[in-house]
């Protein structure tokens, strides 16, 4: 039995198992499909936010508690760009719609890259290898970032304009699937595939994977991991900002508390998945997305607690998470 499960993909099957349990508990197939799509879409957006955190930790043993600031900034930057281009969004031309969305996402990505560079050089570099100060400093940076967001965008909720072509839902029989969710899922999948190819098929990826395993040895082979790390950090920050931007469009109403709320989910995801591997992060993100939506439907008050329980259960089973990087 266990051998069979292993052959079929082992822990990779967990999201499927979660889906099946969900189907049994929910019963109605149409609600189940809607919730599953929502869960997968959420999972993919959380994956965007979490992948960078996981890689950064794996490569440099740096845990950035301020990571959620990138998520918040991404959300607000994208919302501002979309608000500025609201004329394009409602235009009948799909081309203008797409252009506005693309500009918003690019703005979030660019902001993430720049903020990541600043963060790595100014905030984190002085405290490599010192976990206590790292946690404190990045937490301090998070506090400051949240205050900046409050100062710039205010504390009141902001409405996010979505492009017209992503509004509405596909109706198949009695099942309705929100188009935006499908889009979020597809975008997440593309990013995952790109990351996967980059890590497994390029020399850069080879260096990153080797660095995650044994940074010292990669340096002894003649490669500057610290320089590589800046790049990975920037990439991770940009992906987090992209995730935040997508999340803003998903929620359509955002507050500065968004980053803090997502941070908890992101932490749970990387702990479940195992630090340092994007496959693990994807697994964790999908499971958390699915379970949040199922439990949110079945017992709304337990949604966040259910993720916590999931994390506890997985840690008891596998103390380093589902698919941690080889160390």
């Amino acid at each position: 039995m266990i051998g069979l499960i292993g052959k079929l993909g082992g822990v990779n099957l967990l999201p499927v198992a979660v889906m099946l349990v969900g189907l049994v508990l929910i019963g109605a197939p149409s609600s189940w499909v809607t919730l599953t799509v929502a869960g997968l879409a959420m999972g993919m957006m959380v994956f965007l936010m979490a992948s960078g955190l996981s890689l950064v930790f794996g490569l440099m043993d740096v845990l950035n508690f301020g990571h959620s600031a990138f998520v918040s900034f991404g959300a607000f930057v994208a919302a501002s760009v979309l608000a500025g281009l609201s004329g394009w969004l409602s235009a009948p031309s799909v081309l203008l719609n797409v252009a506005a969305l693309a500009l918003a996402l690019i703005a979030a990505l660019a902001f993430g890259l720049a903020a990541g560079l600043f963060f790595e050089r100014v905030i984190i570099k002085p405290v490599y290898k010192d976990h206590l100060r790292q946690i404190l400093i990045t937490m301090g940076a998070l506090i400051v970032s949240e205050q900046i967001i409050l100062a710039l965008w205010g504390g009141t909720p902001i409405t996010v304009h979505r492009p017209a072509f992503l509004e509405g839902a596909w109706i198949i029989g009695d099942v309705s699937i929100e188009i935006y969710r499908g889009f979020a899922f597809a975008l997440g999948l593309i990013v995952f595939a790109a990351l996967y190819v980059m890590l497994n098929r390029t020399r850069l990826g080879l260096l990153i994977r080797a660095g995650v395993e044994n940074r010292e040895m990669v340096e002894a082979l003649g490669f500057r991991i610290d320089r590589l790390f800046v790049g990975v950090f920037m990439l991770g920050s940009a992906l987090a900002a992209l995730g935040g931007a997508m999340w803003a469009g998903y929620q359509t109403l955002i507050t500065p508390a968004l980053g803090g709320e997502m941070m908890i989910v992101v932490f749970i995801v990387v702990i479940i998945g195992g630090l340092g591997s994007i496959e693990g992060t994807l697994l964790g993100a999908l499971m958390v997305g699915l379970i949040s939506n199922y439990v949110g439907f079945l017992a709304p008050k337990l949604a966040l607690a259910s993720n916590m329980i999931l994390m506890m259960a997985i840690l008891m089973w596998r103390p380093s998470g589902l698919r941690p990087a080889v160390k």
């Binding site: 080879l206 080797a210 340096e219 080889v326």
Partner: protein, 234 residues
């Protein structure tokens, strides 16, 4: 001029001073053996050369160039390879990936690769396997193969025979003898029988200080000295 000179090297790890005064001259070519008991400072010496621990200022010279304060990667780029005690194999990567990482450009030199594979035939057999699944001896071969896949001027090797079966130790000795013909090797060992087969020059380190330096032939002939410095029961 020596290839590598350590001049009064001192190294502290955290608040503990490990090396107090290490001075050796490693000439170009052949195998230089650094002997010593457990905890004498052998590994720390190699790691200080590599810049993995910070050496005291102006204490490590490679072809006359001061290495102290340089980044490990830059030291490696000068032509120094390192085979650490734990072998430093990337267990999650394939043997091929481990090897290709050790090249500067990501491309193998065909003839060099053939030479290395001839030296360690097991590697070719497991070329696409995960390095983590290799046996201890095969991992050690991979670690050494990685160090010589491109010509290097100096190879630092830390206790390559630790935990290996006698037959593999013999194969290792042959490989090092071969490599030592055109590359300088600084070999750290506790296994004296292995070391005496290879070494031309040698030094003994104890409690972070060099307590003896000379030729291997002389040292191997002097049982009193061995007994006093290494506490060998032979």
């Amino acid at each position: 001029m020596s290839l590598l000179s350590l001049r009064g090297l001192r190294t502290s790890i955290g608040q503990y001073a490990v090396l107090h005064d290490v001075s050796i001259e490693v000439p170009e070519g052949g195998v230089f053996v650094l002997l010593g008991r457990n905890g004498a400072g052998k590994t720390t010496t190699l790691r200080s050369v590599m810049g993995l621990w910070s050496p005291s200022p102006a204490s490590v010279f490679f072809r006359g160039r001061d290495l102290s304060g340089m980044h490990t990667a830059d030291i490696a780029r000068l032509g120094i390879a390192f085979v650490p005690e734990n072998m430093g194999i990337f267990g999650g990567l394939s043997v091929a990936e481990n090897m290709v990482l050790a090249t500067r450009t990501g491309q193998f030199d065909k003839s060099r690769l053939a030479y290395v594979q001839a030296l360690f035939p097991a590697l070719e057999k497991f070329w696409d396997s995960r390095a983590g699944s290799l046996s201890g001896g095969q991992k050690q071969m991979l670690a050494v193969a990685r160090a010589i896949i491109e010509p290097r001027e100096l190879i630092l090797v830390d206790e390559p025979t630790k935990g290996l079966a006698p037959a593999i130790v013999d194969a290792m000795a042959d490989a090092f003898a071969e490599i030592g013909q055109n590359t300088t090797i600084l070999l750290v060992e506790q296994n004296f029988q292995f070391a005496r087969r290879l070494g031309r020059d040698m030094a003994v380190i104890d409690d972070g200080r060099i307590v003896h330096a000379g030729s291997m032939a002389e040292f191997a002939a002097n049982a009193d000295l061995q007994d006093r410095l290494l506490g060998l029961a032979v």
